[in-house]
């Protein structure tokens, strides 16, 4: 298949998706899963049409089509504009080959730099997610089950307010704090705890702190929501039956909040592994995060097909990982959106 035909595939697939959804809705209605008046009867023709158009615009043009173009591009060679659509413009795996072997043709040696960065990114994202969970769970539990309403409002405001500041600026704030001549080093030097400044950024402390902080809210809120809907009397019942505090969390709170935990962890993991600002601003000289590499494919190497392939690999790996973890936790995708 010539790759110029791919554009038809890119436009046809969303249509197929729409038809598929329409059919599913029809079948559901036939079987009686959906009762009551139809979509247009319920919302009126005007609002119904608006909803339909708005949602399809949003999903198709903003989400589905760009992703599909990217996937399609990932399987095409990098060609000068003149050769586009020519005989060399055929579907190929060379971009993926480059990721693995560092060459579009040879398979002699592994592409150590990129592969290391890739796995480091995945592992670090898992660690950041786990750290974020450990940080947020006690706070979410306190807010959801123990604090008075006024205290909860204050805490929420304190949590949200810093996020009014731009993401890049927030990342730079960590540089100011953690740099060799930064606030923290000055404090430690002044207190006589260290003799020479510590290179926190070079040790990636800044990177992990920045990444954790960047998506903190996306962990807090699902946890808070899930724990808040837990009936406090279940906790009392467990305590009454003799459970120490850690068992109450292990046996009652965490199993109950599992969908919220999965939802928060999924969000933080996906966003951390795809984060760009924090690695660019806070990444030490020795640390190579995967997203800046992808960024470089696009804007330094001007190799859009290769960049697409790299982004696709990252996306696919993360989705597969998340699905595998959900399966291990016996959770369905539907549950984490509750």
């Amino acid at each position: 298949m010539r790759s110029s035909d791919g554009h038809i595939f890119v436009l046809l697939l969303p249509l197929l998706v729409i038809v598929g959804f329409a059919l599913m809705a029809l079948v559901d209605r036939r079987r009686g899963h959906l009762a009551g008046p139809g979509f247009f009867a319920r919302n009126g023709v005007g609002i119904g049409l608006y909803l339909l158009l708005a949602v399809s615009f949003w999903t198709l043009l903003v989400i589905v089509l760009p992703q599909l173009f990217m996937v399609e591009m990932a399987f095409r060679p990098k060609l000068p504009p003149a050769a586009t659509g020519g005989p060399r413009d055929v579907y190929t795996l060379e971009n993926f080959r480059y990721f693995l072997y560092g060459s579009t043709t040879s398979t002699a040696a592994w592409n150590v730099t990129h592969l290391t960065a890739f796995w480091k990114t995945i592992v670090a994202s898992i660690l950041v997610t786990a750290g974020n969970f450990l940080l947020c769970y006690p706070l979410a539990f306190y807010m959801a089950q123990m604090a008075k309403a006024a205290r909860v409002r204050l805490l929420l405001l304190l949590l949200i307010a810093p996020y009014w500041v731009n993401e890049v600026l927030r990342a730079f704030a960590f540089r100011v704090i953690l740099g060799t001549s930064g606030v923290l080093n000055k404090l430690l030097l002044g207190a006589g705890l260290i003799d020479a400044p510590v290179d926190f950024l070079g040790l990636d402390v800044g990177l992990y702190a920045g990444l954790s902080y960047a998506y903190l809210l996306l962990m807090i809120f699902p946890l808070y929501n899930a724990i808040e809907s837990l009936d406090g009397r279940l906790i009392e019942a467990a305590r009454d039956l003799g459970a120490p505090w850690w068992r109450i969390h292990k046996d009652i709170v965490i199993p109950f909040a599992k969908p919220g935990i999965a939802s928060g962890c999924t969000l933080v993991f996906m966003l951390t592994s795809g984060a760009l600002a924090a690695p660019l601003v806070l990444g030490g000289p020795r640390s190579l995060w995967f997203t800046p590499i992808v960024y470089d494919r696009f804007y330094q190497a001007f190799n859009w097909p290769q960049g697409s392939a790299y982004a696709f690999i990252l996306l696919l790996t993360c989705v597969a990982f998340v699905l595998a973890v959900l399966r291990l936790g016996k959770l369905s995708l539907g549950e984490i959106t509750r």
Binding site: E236, R239, D240, L241
Partner: protein, 355 residues
Amino acid sequence: MTEAVELANLTVRFGDFTAVENANLRIQAGEFFSFLGPSGCGKTTILRTISGFIEPTEGAVRIGGQDMRGIGANQRPTALIFQSLALFPMMSVADNVGYGLRVRGVGKAARDRKVDELLNVVALGDQGGKMVDELSGGQRQRVAIARALAVEPQVLLLDEPLSALDLKLRQHMRNELRAIQRRVGITFIYITHDQGEALTMSDRIAVMNRGRIEQVGDGRTVYDAPDTGFVASFVGEINAIPGRVSATADGYAALETPLGVLRGRNPKGLAVGATAQLYVRPEMLLPNPTAAENSLSAVAEEHAYEGNLTHLACRAAGLRLTVLLGARESRDPPAHGAPIALGFAAADARVLPGD
């Protein structure tokens, strides 16, 4: 008999609000003891203080003679059955029942044996594998009881556990609770606002009002010989006739009322001149008496037929009186507006301080 639970000068305050004021009480081991009172009277606060979720502001809770101050809810020899039951929705019935044993580190084999035994006690022998939400209301109730009994508490605390059930099931569960209590022989402390529940199940009842224990006694004492106007009117139906004490003799008092001079028992030793109320139960007011110590004339108003008995509302000197007619007497109830003579024995009426 030893006492299972003792409340000594127990006071619980939340900020400015006094939920329980100076409660003194000894509950015997093996007793079925009820706290009866309207909502907000402090009965749930007492229960939560015994179970360890609330610390007393003053005074002490002793269980088996031991002061419970500083001993957490998870360390006390009590088990609480919540009004909402609070069964764990993420666990099976058997896991719910076995939870208390699991956190105590009881091995799986011993735990399973105990769970089976308890599920049989509450007649749920074959339901252990089900999830909680697959059970009916009455079955869930029994799971909660089994879960609480599993930890072999000295005292079982029940916070209006039957209030969510429908009438038939509630009556059935009353008998069942009482039977379970006899079988296991431990102390039950039961909270309710339903006097019928308290009267049918309890060995003794504490009637509570506004944070105070007004009277403690068995059902018959509380019903037949109430100490206060509140107890008289909260437990069962009663007619209250206001007046002023005009004479006292031999434990009886004569009361000057709008309906004439009426005599009744004087358990509080009220003196001449005191304002008081005379309380007499509807079933003690007899229509057309032949010879009665107290008699009054009233006008019959509407009546409510309830099959085995009939409530007849009367009016006398602006006071509304209720008379309970048996099935035989109510075959031909007096017409609306017809005069009716009523009488009652002085021993069946009580003169208590007026509010």
